[in-house]
Symmetry: C2
Subunit: 99 residues, 2 copies
DNA sequence: TGTCTATATGCGTATATTGCGATATGCACA
DNA sequence: TGTGCATATCGCAATATACGCATATAGACA
């Protein structure tokens, strides 16, 4: 089980992937091409990252009007990221308070 | 912010580190030496991992009776790991249901 | 102060992962 | 069936990180 959990966290440990998730979150479901454009990355890179995230069940893909759309699988990610963000914020506040 | 969040997840993305956290969780606060023995690892490896986790505020260290004890900083980790474990369990159950 | 134990750090090696370019595959449509 | 576009995969170079060994540092105590 530890391996799986670690793998899940590793999947979330790359800024580029978080950017992709953030883009889908703020601008909605997207194709590989759209994400490639949004993030200014190579198409092959985007494809590989999305594949990894699909394998971990964070995103799903479906074909709609001939477009391969990637979208959030569920709102699980929110409950995972929220406490992390809160933790980081709290620590940053604590740091600045000490100065 | 993305960088910090990714860094936090990266810190949690190593099975060995999760084992250390699990050991502290189940057997209580421990010294580097104790963790080294529990996990059968090199002492330098344990020291470095604990340092990283300390920097991320997951664990704290304090000196007690001349022993440098590492313990959980807060219960934040629980609220982060729980949904991940649940997610993985749900996916595994779904997988086996399909077979 | 000197010694002993515990912890931290520097260094080299092995491995994994990223990003890019090139290519292959898949799919819609003429 | 053949063409064109979108996505996936392969190969490679660069980078990051873990591990173990050796060594440095820190703290307790005679």
């Amino acid at each position: 089980m530890t391996e799986e959990v670690a793998g899940y966290f590793k999947m979330l440990s790359e800024p580029v992937r978080l950017h992709m998730l953030g883009s889908i979150c703020s601008e909605g479901a997207a194709t590989i091409g759209e994400l490639t454009e949004r993030l200014g990355l190579c198409q092959s890179v985007v494809s590989r990252h999305m594949k990894l995230m699909t394998e971990h069940g964070v995103v799903c893909k479906k074909i709609e009007n001939g477009r391969t759309l990637y979208y959030f699988a569920d709102d699980c990610l929110c409950s995972i990221c929220a406490p992390v963000v809160e933790k980081i914020r709290a620590r940053a506040a604590e740091q600045s308070r000490l100065l």
